[in-house]
């Protein structure tokens, strides 16, 4: 078990290098650089542009810049400098990380809490009206673009008279110290991103769970369990446990998608997470910020996968012992 974990971690290291390389290349391929946004600006002279380029080291050949960036990360956790915000990237990401992770995790937990029981129920009573209803909602879920759902929810909220739509807090609470009222305000704002991000994930999860359950219910050992005279409740427990196992690996693979969803939702709903940040930095070609952000998410995804694999090994003796 330990060797399994160590082996996986060792493989992750070259993967992370590859990831950083890809992140770097993607940004490099974009035409122009940070200074390009000033090219059209008549108030910025060519000398100033050249100066900007020199100060930020944008005139060095790509390999050199890549090397410097990696060296910075490995030796000092220095992820580079954000040109537009004039602060180290690491600080900026750190500040926004908290909310991003919180929203992502809450979404995952809530959509799982809803999707799994619904999936199990649908499988136990297939083709019932409830099953059809859930399946239709499920189809809706995977067909709705997240940004459109956000717009619709905002529409509904505005129609029903809500005053503060979007963001995580109403204006009086931003920057205010934590209190019960602030927490309630947060909840009142939180439901929207949760639904926007969670809806499509939930739909997919539910259908997969239902599919797994149906597969397991048709499995030969189910009859064997019944033949022993086990009560149906226990048989169901056995089936559910077997159906849950593949879900764990899915959880690991879903992590990048949740982050994707967070990005769009937070741009539309104006949440204080990495999303709008990433978007702005993309448009201003604030490269280190973009690269680091991409890399971060990719690495979190790798970690998520690893955790999922570990969880799977813990749950499934067949994998643990291979």
């Amino acid at each position: 078990m330990i060797s399994f974990i160590i082996r996986r971690i060792l493989i992750m290291i070259p993967m992370m290098f590859l990831i950083s390389l890809i992140c770097y290349m993607v940004i490099e391929l974009q035409p122009g650089d940070f200074a390009s946004q000033y090219l059209e600006n008549p108030r910025v002279s060519p000398e100033q542009i050249r100066y900007i380029r020199e100060t930020y080291g944008l005139d060095q050949p790509p390999i050199v810049r890549y090397g410097m960036w990696i060296k910075g990360i490995l030796t000092e956790f220095d992820f580079g400098y954000s040109f537009s915000h004039k602060r180290p990237v690491a600080d900026l990401i750190w500040e926004r990380m908290g909310w991003t992770v919180m929203i992502a995790l809450t979404t995952i937990v809530i959509s799982w809490l809803i999707a799994l029981p619904v999936g199990i129920y649908s499988a136990l009573k297939p083709y019932s009206p409830a099953d059809y209803a859930f399946t239709t909602v499920g189809f809706l879920g995977i067909s709705f673009p997240e940004f459109f759902l956000a717009l619709i929810l905002m529409f509904i909220a505005l129609q029903s008279g809500a005053t503060s739509v979007g963001g995580l807090f109403s204006s009086p609470f931003i920057g205010a110290p934590w209190s019960w009222a602030k927490f309630v305000d947060l909840l009142q704002h939180l439901w929207m991103p949760l639904i926007v991000i969670g809806f499509s994930g939930w739909a997919g999860l539910m259908r997969v769970m239902r599919g797994n359950m149906l597969d397991m219910l048709g499995s030969p050992f189910v009859n064997s369990l019944r033949a022993r005279g086990l009560p149906e409740k226990r048989v169901r427990a056995h089936v559910i446990k077997n159906a849950l196992n593949p879900m764990v690996s899915i959880a690991g693979m879903e992590l990048p998608n949740i982050f994707s969803g967070t990005v769009i939702a937070s741009i539309v709903l104006n949440l204080p997470t990495m999303g709008p940040f990433f978007y702005d930095s993309l448009r201003s070609q604030d490269q280190y910020l973009v690269m680091s952000f991409l890399m971060f998410i990719a690495i979190i995804a790798q970690i998520g996968n690893l955790l999922a694999d570990i969880a799977l090994a813990l749950l499934d003796p067949r994998i643990r012992m291979s």
Binding site: M15, L18, I19, I22, V26, I27, L29, Q30, P31, F139, L140, I142, S143, F144, P145, E146, F147, F148, L151, I152, M154, F155, L158, V165, G166, G211, P256, N257, F259, S260, G261, V263, I264, I267, V268, F278, Y279, L282, R283, Q285, V290, F293, L294, I297, A298, I299, A301, Q302, N305
Partner: protein, 362 residues
Amino acid sequence: MATQTTLRAKKAFFKHKLAFIGLIILGLLYLMVIFADFIAPYNYTATHRDFLNVPPTQIHWFHEGTFMGPFIYGVKRVRDPVTFGWKQEVDPSKIYPIRLFAKGQTYKFWGLWETDIHLFGVGPDATAPLFLFGGDRLGRDVFSRTVIGSRVSMTAGLLGTFIAVFLGAIIGSVSGYFGGWIDVGIQRFIEVLRSFPRIPLWLALAMILPPQWPSTSVYFGIVIVLSFIGWMGVARVIRGMVLSLREKEYVLAAKVTGQSDMKIIVKHLVPNTATYLVVVSTLSIPGMILGESAISFLGLGIKEPMTSWGLLLSQAQSLTVIQNYPWQMIPGIFIVVAVMCFNFVGDALRDAFDPYRTVEKV
């Protein structure tokens, strides 16, 4: 063998009534793509200065008790007695019947011949425009723009999927057939790419397109960006199938008779993977359509003068618009419907061809 599968598949497919409905709706949507200029009563760039942000035009059927067929009332400008600003008021004295094959603005049908006949309209002398879905902030007909927008939205996803599947099939075949270092290298690369979340990666890739590019080049650029993520899933599946097919006797037989590797791949392996390619394509199109919409919505995708449903929605983003002019969000419904239909069809196809769920979508 193949005909048995197709027969069984056809039977299972039609068991799904939803898929059938989906297919019909998709057919209608693609008709709309082909005849977009004809169906739209107005050119999508035509502005109506006096009709900014107007709600959908009311269609009436009865005028003072008599049935007249569908028509709209004219509009006259009056001064508001309170604000002294210009206001619009319905003018019941002017009646503009909605006619089929009405004359409208001229356009070129598929750039080939000029005509000014549209599917329906109120004719060029009406003082009030027929805005089925209302008007946007520049006084353009949202309905016309939605119809024209279908061209991009419904085709970009298709093209992207085909390219992705094609690429994926080739890379997967090569990877599976030759094995060894090529295989390992490609697989690792795919694994790394997969750990990137799709949307941020799409956005970053979309930024690679130079801002000076004309609209049509941007379109193809976006298609390529979309397919860039898609090919990996296909490659993995095809590789798996190629790996198992490779060991089958008829491949060995072909090798023994001296057929070149390329020929073997094309003649034997491809037809066997055909059904799966069909399934995986249909399963992936929804993701591509949503992707294009998202990228365009965020302003990194399709550019004016082209338009797509995602782009149309981005113009409806502000709280003011949502609150006061909600009809501008209607293109979003089209996205949902199109994607749902593709999902229904894809699901039914998959039940028909691949009941054991061996294929996962891209």
